[in-house]
Symmetry: C2
Subunit: 187 residues, 2 copies
């Protein structure tokens, strides 16, 4: 018997804790939401210490994501990937920015690992906003970021994706630190 269906979900708390109707005008606002998602995910024990969100050109939420690797037994279920999958399903488009005239933004609490880096290339986003750096993740938690192209930022920019780093980095580091200090299980 072949398995032919897979079902991935966000934790139920997203409906109570996230204001889906709000707008997030600045880059700091967008990354703050991603960090808040990461923080609540740890507090609720619903996955690893990572959050992400996709925003439309009017700075509204298209989708959010949190790490769900362990609860859902899915190594693909990183925060960025969950946000991409949910945005594309909502819009019924395999490139998110096919549905908009202006730029689509992914904000993430920490630098995408090798898997989410590759996914970002195909997902249809125009801007990538990052909180913590890869070295913060490796310093404060047991996670590895995996192998990236040497000029990973340049490769994204070549494909029309602007990258902005170190947005609310200290706040993003604080979530990773709190997770690491509580001996967070490997997600």
């Amino acid at each position: 018997m072949l398995y032919a269906q897979v079902h991935l979900t966000l934790p139920a708390w997203v409906h109570e804790r996230i204001d889906a109707a709000a707008t997030y005008p600045g880059d700091e606002d967008k990354v703050a939401l991603a960090i808040e998602l990461a923080r609540i995910n740890v507090e609720a024990a619903s996955g690893g210490p990572f959050g992400a969100a996709v925003f439309d050109p009017q700075h509204r939420i298209v989708s959010v994501g949190v790490n769900r690797v362990v609860p859902q037994n899915a190594s693909l279920a990183h925060a960025e990937n969950m946000a991409f999958l949910l945005a594309q399903q909502r819009l019924q488009a395999f490139r998110i920015n096919d549905r908009y005239d202006g730029p689509v933004t992914l904000a993430t609490s920490a630098q995408p690992c090798c898997q989410c880096y590759g996914a970002t290339v195909w997902a249809g986003v125009d801007r990538l906003l990052i909180g913590a750096r890869a070295e913060d993740v490796m310093e404060l938690t047991e996670f590895d970021e995996g192998p990236l192209p040497a000029d990973w930022i340049g490769e994204l920019e070549k494909r029309g994706i602007e990258v902005v780093r170190d947005i609310r980095r200290e706040q993003a580091r604080a979530v990773l630190r709190a997770y690491g200090e509580h001996g967070g299980q490997r997600y």
Copy 2:
């Protein structure tokens, strides 16, 4: 309203066309199955010209995958990723090889793109068998493989993943060529 669930499926034909009980002892047998999945996927118009399968240490199928990007509006739904998701869900393990004593193998009809490359790092496989090369994909179809680390094979081998290329390469190229010649829609 936030979207919080995503559902991905293989085409129904996998149940009729793939013998889930067979064993695939050699590397050539394993890649032949991946190529056959790619071929049927094109014939059935159920996704792009790519197939993959995960095998347990006894050379039995754990899962299969085909490209489902366009039919499911999901840029993550490449063949390798579908096979990883389905294997992990079946085994209820976020690393496939956590469930086995011997080596777990992913066979793929063509070299993983940047997204599936990163996913391969975390999925829990010990061997990666590849049919067509990236340059075959780019020569024969309109697909881009995306940015990889310069020594992408060495980075996998450092992480305990053996890579074998050019297995049934001509047969794999033939599927890509047939797809390209029929002006295959971009998947």
